[in-house]
């Protein structure tokens, strides 16, 4: 396409992308304390930046000869259903049916590139406007091209059902595209208002359904390249411990082994088959230069309120003074969440082919831009010469934010002069886990003589989950704590006259990472459990107490109350629970996506069984209700799993439960009756991949407390 004018909304995008940076600059003048509070609140209220590399429609769309339209998504479809929602959004402005749009991942050299990552439940909110803008611009380009070809005024050309019409003349988009030599990018037309949407709000099945039901080779591990060799890459099971020595002679003589490569902190066993590489890998005896070998108790002790550095992220009124002055009574509780693994079923790995001056990388990743930058630095190659082709990840949940073995695979490929297929074993997947770290929470409230909650102070102790990876050590210095993870749920949303939150940033000797819902999982467990306990302590109904603490004329608060009132109704909260049934409730707001749940539990052979989950979810505008229900169900199951079963354990400095048997998760036997009610409360969409997870664990804990009379303040819940 010649003569492109890059006027397409570029300025607007850049302004949106600079929100966080702008805040940082302001903060330097204001001093650190206000900036920290500002940043923590930004995480809650931020309009997600869409940091995209190209805004020209021809980078996003390709019209195929059969009049289908290829849409190159800069965001990754890792199961959350965004490709279906994206097709629906694009269809609204392109005047085609969603089925006519085939969504694929953009590779980094020929499509729009995402400079952030796919995660944080941000894909739909951040792409809601840009997708429609590029689609509308594309439609306008086609209309203008048709007008030029037919010699009619633009105003006479209409786009409908993938065809262009002017009077008696008609042509498909493909026909017009094929006959157009030169394109100009027009000003972005005005977008359709929500009221005119044809597809948004209707149920659509996934557009990757057929590929996934017939077993198409769409995952990273399925990728092949001609002449490909297989490598198993051994890394240290001890975080950041370099290689001291390795005995490799036995492995090297295993049939099919081509070479063994030793590096500072990894060993590659390269062979003709994966089977040979894995078998030979087991014969390598590696010794790592390990410092102190930490035990489980060390990690719990290290992550305790008062350890590390405390940073204030919320301060309303004078909670510290109110908590100290006489009068009323203090209610205080502590909560803990354990280390957990992502445990997605497709292990991490890379297919890499590094040639003299270019590289091709196929990978299941959440952050193609970050991986490509790391590869460029390690290979000493310009980023533009590295084509990173994202595959469909077989699960992600935050596990694919990092580069994992991409750099090692690329270096092995360069050394061997051949493409390399390198994937972790399940044991490695657990052993090298950038885990969800354990957390500790202390909450204190002042209850006055009338049973009113006057003040609340929340202390959260957590290792870094996200900030170092995302903004580097300067970010930690400035923010003082991991406000990316802490920001999800650490500032207390309840209208308590005096409230404050301190985040204790604890040093930690293991690799950590973002886990579905980021900090929301642990913050919601602690804060919502505490609210439930406060309700007991003051003899109030937990839903009524929440409504009382959330009522305000503010729009967001009205949505909160609407969700809780709907939940009270659909869960039949005001009817007594059945015999042998315990009931609990919890609430969560993760960046304006609001989810509340009532959970019913019983005991089955002295184990907790979740019988029923009733959820009311207000994710703002619902693009694809069917996709939203899928995500809510997924969050419910993952919440049950994390609440009842999951805990990574450390022994002798390394993670030692490294199999699905040793790290049990929810199965078909854990499926409860599920009722999900969607209550769209806004004209823009918010995320749904993570927010529905927030209320599950605290609601289960509260239901178990209700049933057994024993408080549940640490996870996983254990009755004995």
């Amino acid at each position: 396409m010649a003569s492109e004018k890059k006027i397409f909304s570029r300025r607007k995008f850049l302004i949106r992308g600079a929100i966080v940076l702008g805040g940082t600059v302001v903060g330097i003048y204001l001093g650190k304390r206000p900036i920290r509070r500002f940043l923590a609140q930004q995480i809650e209220g931020i309009e997600p930046p869409a940091m995209l590399s190209h805004f020209q429609p021809n980078f996003w769309f390709e019209i195929q000869p059969d009049n289908t339209i290829l849409f190159k998504s800069p965001k990754i479809e890792m199961g959350q259903g965004i490709f279906t929602g994206f097709a629906m959004l694009a269809a609204e402005e392109l005047e085609v049916s969603p089925e006519q749009i085939k969504v694929v991942h953009a590779d980094t050299t020929s499509g729009p590139m995402d400079k952030v990552a796919t995660g944080g439940s941000n894909s739909t909110p951040s792409m809601f406007v840009p997708i429609r803008q590029v689609a509308a611009t594309m439609r306008e380009m086609l209309c203008q091209a048709a007008a030029a070809q037919w010699g009619v005024p633009r105003s006479e050309v209409k786009a409908e059902n993938g065809t262009l019409q002017a009077g008696a003349r008609q042509a498909t988009y493909a026909e017009i595209a094929a006959a157009t030599q030169e394109w100009t990018i027009p000003k972005t037309p005005a977008l359709k208002p929500v009221s005119e949407f044809k597809y948004v709000g209707k149920d659509f099945k996934r557009n990757d359904l057929e590929a996934k039901v017939f077993g198409d080779p769409i995952y990273g591990i399925d990728a092949t390249m001609p002449g490909m060799l297989y490598a198993c890459i051994i890394q240290s099971p001890f975080y950041r411990a370099p290689l001291k020595s390795a005995k490799t002679s036995e492995a090297a003589s295993w049939p099919g082994v081509e070479r063994i490569i030793l590096e500072k902190d990894w060993i590659a066993v390269v062979a003709q088959t994966r089977y040979a590489a894995e078998a030979a890998m087991l014969m390598v005896e590696a010794e790592w230069d390990v410092g102190k070998k930490y035990e489980q108790e060390d990690l719990i002790r290290m992550v305790t309120v008062g350890q590390g550095k405390g940073v204030n992220v919320q301060e309303v009124g004078s909670p510290r003074r109110i908590l100290q002055v006489p009068g009323g009574r203090i209610f205080r509780q502590e909560y803990r969440t354990p280390m957990a693994a992502h445990a997605q079923i497709e292990p991490n790995g890379t297919v890499a082919y590094v040639e003299k001056d270019k590289a091709t990388i196929i990978m299941s990743t959440q952050s193609p831009g970050f991986v490509r930058a790391q590869l460029a630095a390690s290979l000493g190659m310009k980023a533009k010469n590295i084509n990173l082709i994202p595959a469909f990840p077989g699960g992600a949940f935050g596990r694919r934010m990092k580069t994992h073995n991409a750099v090692a695979a690329a270096l092995v490929s360069r050394a061997m002069g051949k493409p390399i297929h390198a994937f972790y074993t399940r044991e490695q997947e657990f052993m090298y886990s950038p885990c969800r770290p354990n957390t500790h929470h202390v909450l204190q409230a002042k209850i006055d003589d009338n049973g009113q909650i006057q003040a609340l102070h929340y202390d959260l102790a957590t290792p870094d989950m996200a900030i170092e990876d995302n903004v580097g050590s300067a970010g930690i210095f400035l923010a003082g704590a991991d406000i990316i993870s802490a920001g999800h749920g650490a500032p207390v949303i309840y209208n308590i006259p005096h409230k404050s939150t301190d985040v204790w940033h604890c040093p930690y000797p293991l690799d950590t990472g973002i886990w579905r819902s980021v900090g929301m999982f642990s913050n919601a467990f602690a804060v919502e459990s505490f609210i439930n306990e406060l309700a007991r302590e003051t003899s109030q109904d937990p839903i009524a107490l929440r409504i009382a603490l959330l009522k305000s004329p503010e729009k967001l608060h009205q949505r909160y109350v609407a969700v809780l009132e709907k939940l009270r109704e659909v869960s039949r909260w005001d009817m007594p629970a059945g015999e042998g049934i315990g009931r609990g409730v919890a609430f969560g707001d993760d960046r304006k996506s609001i989810a509340a749940a009532v959970v019913e539990v019983s005991l089955r052979s002295s184990r907790v069984k979740v019988n029923k989950v009733t959820m009311v979810l207000d994710p703002g505008l619902c693009i694809n209700p069917e996709g939203i229900r899928q995500q809510a169900e997924g969050c419910i199951m993952m919440g049950i799993s994390a609440a009842l079963y999951e805990e990574l354990k450390v022994k002798g400095g390394r993670i030692y439960n490294t199999s699905f048997q040793a790290y049990p998760m929810a199965t078909l036997a854990d499926v409860p009756e599920i009722e999900i009610v969607l209550l769209p409360g806004d004209e823009v969409p918010y995320g749904v991949g993570e927010p529905p997870l927030a209320p599950i664990a605290p609601a289960i804990a509260s239901a178990v407390y209700d049933l057994t009379g024993k408080p549940q303040r640490s996870l996983p819940i254990r009755l004995a």
Binding site: K205, F214, F423, Q630, A669, V671
Partner: protein, 155 residues
């Protein structure tokens, strides 16, 4: 010595270490990628397929043990996409997959299970299908297996 077996209705003959797991033979030698690696320990079921009609976890099954036997993978579960197996049909009607990676194993396990339990209860399914899914598609898998049972009767 080449190892021979029937794969999705066709005779195949491969040269491989007899101890090589069937999973890697299928994926890396024969190029059939629907059967997935999940754990390598027969714990998660992502690699489930049928050997003489029974569900087997192929990551831990040496290829020599299927010599002369009839192996069916997801690629061979139906003759073509316009005539999906009732399990695949049910999976589409219930819109089951999310990431989709564990689904081939679940579908293969479900297809063999329904031969034995044509009218399954939830308890039957929960007891016999122990595959692992991380996205949380379990509620839909339960529904889809019961739907597939109904579809089978109408075929």
């Amino acid at each position: 010595m080449p190892i021979q077996f029937i794969l999705n209705g066709r005779s195949v003959s491969i040269e491989a270490d007899p101890a090589m797991p069937l999973l890697w033979v299928l994926r890396d030698i024969l190029g059939l990628k629907a059967t997935k690696y999940g754990c390598g320990r027969a714990q998660c079921g992502a690699c489930s397929l049928h050997v003489d009609g029974q569900t087997q976890r192929s990551c831990s099954l040496p290829v020599q043990l299927v010599a002369g036997k009839n192996v069916v993978t997801l690629e061979g579960l139906c003759a073509n996409r316009s005539q999906p197996h009732p399990v695949q049909q049910a999976w589409m009607e219930e819109n089951v997959p999310q990431c989709g990676y564990c689904q081939p194993g679940f579908m293969m396990a479900a297809a063999a299970f329904l031969e034995q339990f044509p009218n399954p209860t939830d308890e039957d399914i929960q007891q016999h299908i122990t595959n692992v899914c991380r996205c949380g598609t379990h509620p839909r898998i339960l529904r889809a297996i019961k739907r597939a049972a109904a579809l089978r009767k109408n075929v």
